[in-house]
Point group: C2
Chain length 107, copies 2
DNA sequence: AGTATATGTTATAGTTTTATAACATGTCAA
DNA sequence: TTGACATGTTATAAAACTATAACATATACT
């Protein structure tokens, strides 16, 4: 798969609120697939699993099987890449905005 | 609009590749709406404008009208918020992954 | 005023995504 | 091995999103 396609998967994966909530659950510690399903009582178990699949294909989750359980881990690397794409490392966002405004007004 | 809803708009806006390309165009300097349309020759002008509208409603773009021209600026603040949501400030992502693996293996 | 330029709005067909149901595999413990 | 548990796969209806066309407004210049 090309790098561009992989990036698409990351953003598509983050586009759904339930999937972002799953990543929130995994932020501090891994969870089993069953743990995740239990947190979404209003949602069908199959639906949750499909969301987990989308996140895994995007590389935002990686997993490790132990006996009957599948432990899911957050991989935050793609999220750092989003940050690096648009944030100037040598200026805070607010400074950046003001700089651009100034640049325009001087025209 | 609630904060949660606003966040939804940001992620939905980032979900489309054309919209991400528009943000890339604005990273270093503002562009007029016409400038942006000119960069997407294969896409209808109306389509580009709708994308710009989605980005603006999400707060990823803000604009300033000067005469007949509308200057569009990138606002990277929501992107920093994405970063802050999942990245632990006191550990690099790779360190974080290893820490979680270790935590699991010790069970 | 009249014309060209630059931008904005609304409706809709085509495409993609989400939630669910039905079905299926692999593991543990008595 | 039998039953219960935990997870995984495939198909489909409903919902959401994208691209386009048709229509509309605002500004600058002669």
């Amino acid at each position: 798969m090309s790098s561009a396609k992989k990036g698409d998967l990351v953003f598509k994966a983050l586009a759904d609120r339930r999937r972002r909530e799953i990543l929130d659950l995994l932020k501090d510690e891994p969870k089993t697939t069953g743990d995740i399903c239990a947190k979404f009582k209003k949602l069908d178990r199959c639906t949750v699993m499909q969301h987990v699949g989308v996140l895994e294909r995007a590389g935002l989750i990686f997993s490790k099987k132990v006996g009957r359980f599948r432990w899911n881990y957050l991989n935050a690397v793609p999220i750092r890449e989003i940050y690096d794409r648009w944030i100037n490392k040598y200026a805070s966002p607010s400074v950046e905005i003001l700089t651009k405004l100034k640049h325009d007004l001087e025209k």
